[in-house]
């Protein structure tokens, strides 16, 4: 096991990783920008290195300073968290060049999975179902031909992209040209690459992802699914496991597909296969996130595993203590609490948090970097806390989640708390029969979400 590990992140995930390291008896070195000098992750770490000014390009994305922070403090490994440099193959290479173990997959695999066309080719070769569509980049003319063949609606997507940027839903041939131009321009602006491809639009679709964990000795563990269909403009708000949309057969089909893919690409460490599940029970690969996910705690809640500790252990060369399918028990829900103003279209609402009281008691886990007096900086993302609920059944978990959200007190900034509370209380959510269009369809009936639906 490593003696000391650098945590190349901030916020709740840096706190999460530091906790895991400490539980493993490993020293944690934090990095921080000048905006985060008083942050909880700095306080919890055994040591902290100031790496730059608030702007992320000069601090949390500053590869030379982060690598130097690790090497000058005698770290043996680097945990990237999620976001920032976690899917940056160049960073992985720089770590390796400086004798630092990157806690994640290899740069090679990361790079290939970051290229959507390559990723799909690998998945196809591994026998993982894909969304029907063009195999790679499509000109406007090729897009038109593909759309006619697939049948509308279709999706235009950025080859280089993610997070919904450069994406357009096209309902019919008349919309195609305009949508193509706009999506391409958006993709170019966001990723420096306007290349698009075409996919059949699966609708209503559910976003369901499979968590995997692979060691360096060929061991593959699949940890079940996470249902992430409650999204607002492709930003997840609530995740749960098990998914109400999966039966045992479909779940096993998805997990074994993910396992096949891991073996095919020699995947290592934690990863998440994102799938769309159609109303007919079909599933199609979207992408492989080569890192820890924000919503990993719901998987931890039902498996009893600590995914971050496992990441560190397999990166240190340990074999997985169990492989195959991780046993699960009960139901878990994660609610993301963002500093966003529901009345202003969920615009980020940075500010000072005067009072913060996490919900406590049975079946409630809160991951946060917030305490009284903490300032939510406009430089970073708006996630301030994750409330993770575990209970025996889905219905009980929903009731417990609502109990917990009533207890949660945040004074100082507007948050998504009430929106989540109302979603959890809605008939659609309780029924389990919802899709990624939930917010658009039900949002207008939920007072706290009225500002969220354009």
């Amino acid at each position: 096991m490593f003696g000391r590990v650098l945590v190349a992140n901030r916020g709740e995930i840096a706190v999460r990783v530091i906790r895991a390291l400490h539980e493993l008896g490993v020293e944690a070195v934090a990095v921080y920008s000048t905006a985060d000098a008083d942050a909880l992750h700095v306080r919890l770490a055994d040591r902290a290195v100031r790496i730059g000014p608030p702007a992320v390009g000069e601090s949390y994305l500053n590869i030379p300073s982060i690598v130097a922070a690790a090497t000058t403090t005698g770290c043996e490994a680097v945990h990237p968290g999620y976001g920032f440099l976690s899917e940056n193959a160049e960073f992985v290479r720089m770590c390796e060049a400086n004798d630092l173990v990157f806690i994640g997959p290899s740069a090679h695999v990361m790079e290939r999975m970051g290229d959507k066309a390559l990723a799909k080719a690998e998945m196809r070769a591994a026998g993982v179902p894909l969304v029907p569509g063009t195999e790679g980049a499509a000109s406007l003319a090729e897009a038109r031909a593909a759309a006619e063949e697939l049948g509308f609606p279709v999706l235009l997507k950025a080859a280089a992209g993610g997070g919904g940027r450069g994406m357009r839903l096209v309902h019919g041939p008349g919309e195609l040209h305009d949508a193509y131009d706009r999506a391409s321009a958006e993709a170019h602006a966001a990723f420096g690459d306007g290349t698009l491809y075409v996919e059949k639009a699966i609708t209503p679709a559910r976003h369901v992802e499979i968590q995997v964990m692979c060691d360096n000795h060929g061991g593959v563990l699949t940890c079940g699914e996470r249902e992430c269909s409650i999204q607002r403009r492709h930003q997840k708000l609530i995740e749960e496991t098990p998914s109400p949309a999966l039966d045992a057969e479909l779940r096993e089909a998805m997990e074994s597909a993910a396992e096949r893919a891991c073996r095919h690409i020699s995947y290592r460490n934690a990863g998440t296969f994102e799938f769309l599940v159609g109303p007919d029970g079909s599933f199609s690969f979207i992408e492989l996130n080569t890192r820890l996910q924000v919503e990993h705690p719901v998987t931890e809640a039902v498996t009893g595993l600590d995914l971050v500790r496992l990441q560190v252990r397999v990166a240190a060369g340990e074999p997985l203590p169990l492989t195959g399918r991780a046993p699960r028990e009960g139901h878990a829900i994660e609610i993301r609490i963002n500093a966003e103003d529901p009345s202003r279209g969920f615009a980020p609402a940075p500010g000072r948090i005067e009072r913060f009281r996490p919900p406590l008691g049975p079946g409630v886990r809160t991951d946060t970097f917030v305490e009284d007096g903490v300032t939510i900086s406009p430089y970073y993302d708006s996630l301030i806390a994750k409330v993770v609920i575990r209970d025996e059944t889905r219905a009980q978990a929903i009731d417990r989640a609502r109990r917990a959200l009533r207890e949660l007190e945040i004074v100082g900034v507007p948050t998504t708390r009430d929106a989540a509370y109302q979603i959890l209380g809605s008939e659609e959510f309780r029924s389990g029969d919802y899709s990624t269009s939930f917010i658009d369809e039900a949002g207008s009936r939920l007072p706290a979400l009225s500002g969220a639906v354009e």
């Binding site: 000048t34 008083d38 290195v49 100031r50 790496i51 000014p53 030379p64 982060i66 690598v67 400086n98």
Partner: protein
């Protein structure tokens, strides 16, 4: 703005710190600095009180600066003192061979050095080397006169050597880091005393 202030201060401020006080508190600070410098009423009791006041305000300024906290307010004896931090703008930007010249308007987290010195802070994380290679003579020693563009030290990160150069003609007054020690962003490296006109902002 510091230059203007310096002129206004008419020699009242004997240090950068006091200059900052003037900038932050204006009239109030001026009054108490006059007290300290003996330009006010030559009454022991009065100047004693003002001295205490000044020390308290200075202490507050120090607390705000060292803690990086946003604002501290203290109220006593009919006077409300609020010390609010300047927005946390970096004094140096990282570049291949940069020189961090503290601009007074964008004072960094470190306490500005006294006596008109210019502090060079580390623009990055890395190892600090005073010479181009082991055994070679140091780039500079305390007391050396350096010309703008002259190399002061090397910062090594990811096995890449980044030269830090002087941005002005100056005398090296202090070297804050031992050779081969790691430094973090914003850490003071050198104090330089300008030998010609003070550097322009920007």
């Amino acid at each position: 703005p510091l230059d203007e202030l310096r002129e206004q201060a008419e020699g009242l401020a004997s240090s950068e710190e006091e200059l900052l006080l003037l900038g932050l508190f204006g009239e109030d600070a001026e009054r108490l600095l006059r007290g300290i410098r003996g330009r006010g009423r030559r009454d022991d009791e009065f100047s004693g009180v003002d001295q205490v006041r000044a020390d308290r305000i200075r202490e507050l300024v120090r607390i705000v600066q060292e803690s990086g906290i946003g604002e501290v307010t203290v109220e006593e004896e009919g006077m409300r003192v609020s010390v609010r931090a300047t927005p946390d703008t970096p004094v140096a930007t990282a570049s291949a061979a940069p020189l961090a010249v503290p601009e007074p308007a964008e004072a960094g987290p470190a306490v500005p050095p006294a006596n008109g010195l210019v502090r060079v802070e580390s623009p990055m994380v890395g190892n600090f080397y005073r010479s181009p290679q082991p055994g070679a003579p140091s780039f500079v020693e305390v007391g050396d006169v350096v010309a703008a563009g002259q190399t002061l030290c090397i910062l090594e990160a990811m096995k890449l050597m980044n030269e830090v150069k002087a941005e002005l003609d100056a005398v090296v007054r202090a070297i804050h880091v031992e050779n081969a020690e790691p430094v973090e962003y914003g850490q003071p490296l050198f104090d330089l005393e300008p030998v010609s006109a003070p550097p322009r902002a920007g």
